[in-house]
């Protein structure tokens, strides 16, 4: 009995030790970024864990001005916001039809769309298409691209939820004289709330963090989102890690806030389908 409880204690200590060392591995780089963001220029040739001599809040103002971050912030908000709304709207309607029809043909189309989670983008020919359709270097072009990239996963995610809504509801609504669009908007869509929020949050997160699309398709700096602005800023101020870190914090702040506020949806959404149930 004594040795068993001692073993248990040792295992528990080891587990907690492992947990703390893993957390430290993550938190040290985070702390480096936060501390460096407040340092003066002479202390920040690189990132270190020392406390700043003075807390230079002015770094943030400098970065916002020099990096033209207000513009980029609004751009990111526009791209992520619009493509999220468009994706969620189109994906939920499509998922609804695929899930309800259950015919062979619709099943095949569902597979065709979901395959988009896997297939890689050919950026070379996509550039050609963007040029031919005159969408290259436009804000609506990038929104359509993001929508196309996010649709497959969103359709997949929402599809699973639609099948949990009983079809008796549809029948009752139709008997009451609902048109198909009314049935969808008034009956089905409200019941998909949690699925829609989940896919919306994930979509916003992914598009906010995305980097490769604007790199290929947005050439004028006034159209750049935050990620591209950070990268460009890094190229210009290579040795000013205080400014780069301030820029990094401003870029990450919205997603971290979203993460803290919507942790349930983010983790839940990303693990959906991975776990038997």
């Amino acid at each position: 009995m004594g040795s068993r409880s001692r073993n248990k204690l040792i295992v528990s200590i080891l587990k907690n030790l492992l947990a703390w060392s893993a957390a430290l591995m993550i938190l040290v780089p985070v702390a480096l970024i936060i501390l460096t963001a407040f340092k003066g220029s002479s202390e920040s040739l690189t990132m270190s864990l020392g406390l700043p001599k003075e807390w230079n809040w002015s770094n943030f103002a400098t970065v916002i001005e020099k990096g033209k971050l207000v513009r980029s912030f609004l751009n990111s908000l526009l791209y992520a916001g619009c493509s999220t709304l468009l994706t969620v709207f189109l994906a939920s309607m499509a998922a609804y039809v695929f899930s309800r029809r259950r015919s062979k043909g619709m099943g095949a189309i569902y597979m065709y769309i979901v395959l988009g989670m896997v297939i890689p983008v050919n950026y070379v020919t996509l550039t050609k298409i963007m040029q031919v359709t005159r969408l290259n270097n436009t804000w609506y072009g990038i929104i359509l691209l993001y929508t196309a990239m996010q649709l497959p996963f969103s359709v997949f995610l929402i599809y699973g939820f639609v099948s949990k809504i009983p079809t008796e509801l549809d029948e009752a609504a139709i008997l009451d004289g609902c048109s198909p669009i009314q049935l969808y908007l008034r009956v089905i869509f409200p019941m998909l709330k949690s699925a829609v929020i989940t896919s919306g949050v994930l979509c916003f997160l992914n598009t906010w963090n995305e980097f490769i699309m604007p790199l290929y398709f947005l050439h004028s700096s006034e159209k750049w989102p935050m990620t591209l602005a950070v990268y460009n800023f890094f190229g210009q101020y290579e040795m000013s890690w205080n400014l780069i870190c301030a820029d990094v914090i401003l870029t990450c702040l919205p997603v971290v806030v979203l993460y803290i506020a919507c942790q349930k949806y983010i983790v839940g959404g990303q693990t959906e389908g991975a776990v038997k149930g």
């Binding site: 480096l32 039809v97 395959l115 890689p120 935050m226």
Partner: protein
């Protein structure tokens, strides 16, 4: 009730149209273009047959090296993230103080922009003044201080390590959700039979996690084959082309106007993933019920 009338096909039309135009069409016409000499320098296109594919697979001009690098990256990061993720998941699924704090922290890197993570690590891994080497020297481990992203021998290893740092928490989280979904009675049953901790893991946890593990592996593989941001931010393929992967190589070809080469590499990936992807998607969409 008439299904075709109640659930009209045009509800799905918007999604199908946008997805087809921007994802599928570029892939398909890309295959067509990979049989040509398309570039920024010639006005006319010429059919060149399999020449582009032959130059990729004959090992001329490093193309094959980008593909093998991508496969190596995918293999190593997938294995490490899965093994470490599983270790942490088993350890952290119960019996931990502040468990929500730990899980929250571990998951944090997966919500940050990958580009930003990469940029941050270019400072941390700086050979002279970076945090990692400064720290190693301070605790007397000078011998371990490396020229992480500069030394051609270890640069790719460093890139993979940063990516593993970023991705373990995500895999761990998925596996924890999977572990917590295993009915307690299974553990109670083997406990009655006197199973030790390893046997509980081997005969209950592992088999019950099969589907979750399959999904995480598929997600890791998809991510690995498409990796761009991380490599671009850390090394941009350097030193030389030591850390070049397919997508960074395509980006460079594109900037140089070598469209045919770029589209050929993309098409090889597209064809491979369209077939392999079918099975991956089957795994992702399978939602079998236990019991």
């Amino acid at each position: 009730m008439n299904k075709a009338k109640t659930y009209p096909w045009y509800f799905a039309a918007g999604a199908i149209l946008i997805y087809t135009l921007f994802s599928v069409v570029p892939g398909l016409i890309g295959i067509g273009y990979s049989f040509t000499d398309w570039s920024a320098y010639t006005k006319e296109l010429h059919f060149v047959g399999l020449d582009n594919f032959i130059s990729v697979f004959s090992g001329k001009g490093d193309y094959l090296h980008y593909i093998t690098n991508t496969l190596l990256f995918t293999l190593v990061t997938t294995v490490c993230k899965t093994v470490l993720g599983l270790l942490f998941a088993v350890a952290l699924s119960e019996g931990i103080k502040f468990k929500n704090f730990h899980r929250g922290v571990m998951y944090l890197p997966s919500v940050l922009p990958i580009l930003v993570t990469g940029l941050t690590f270019t400072s941390i891994l700086n050979p002279k003044i970076g945090f990692l080497n400064t720290f190693l020297r301070a605790i007397g481990l000078d011998g371990l201080a490396q020229r992480w992203l500069v030394d051609p021998k270890i640069a790719f290893g460093s890139v993979m390590a940063v990516d593993i740092w970023r991705g373990v928490g995500y895999i761990m989280t998925m596996l924890i959700v999977g572990i917590l979904a295993i009915p307690r009675v299974y553990y109670e049953a083997v406990a009655v039979d006197g199973a030790n901790a390893w046997q509980r893991f081997r005969y209950v946890t592992l088999p019950m996690l099969r589907q979750t593990l399959a999904v995480t592996i598929v997600l890791n593989v998809i991510y690995g084959l498409k990796v761009f941001d991380m490599v671009y931010a850390l090394t941009n393929g350097g030193p030389g082309h030591r850390t070049e992967v397919m997508y960074t190589a395509v980006f460079k070809m594109m900037s140089k106007g070598l469209y045919a080469e770029g589209t050929t590499i993309s098409s090889i990936m597209f064809i491979f993933m369209a077939f392999a992807g079918f099975f991956m998607v089957k795994i992702l969409t399978k939602n079998e019920v236990v019991e």
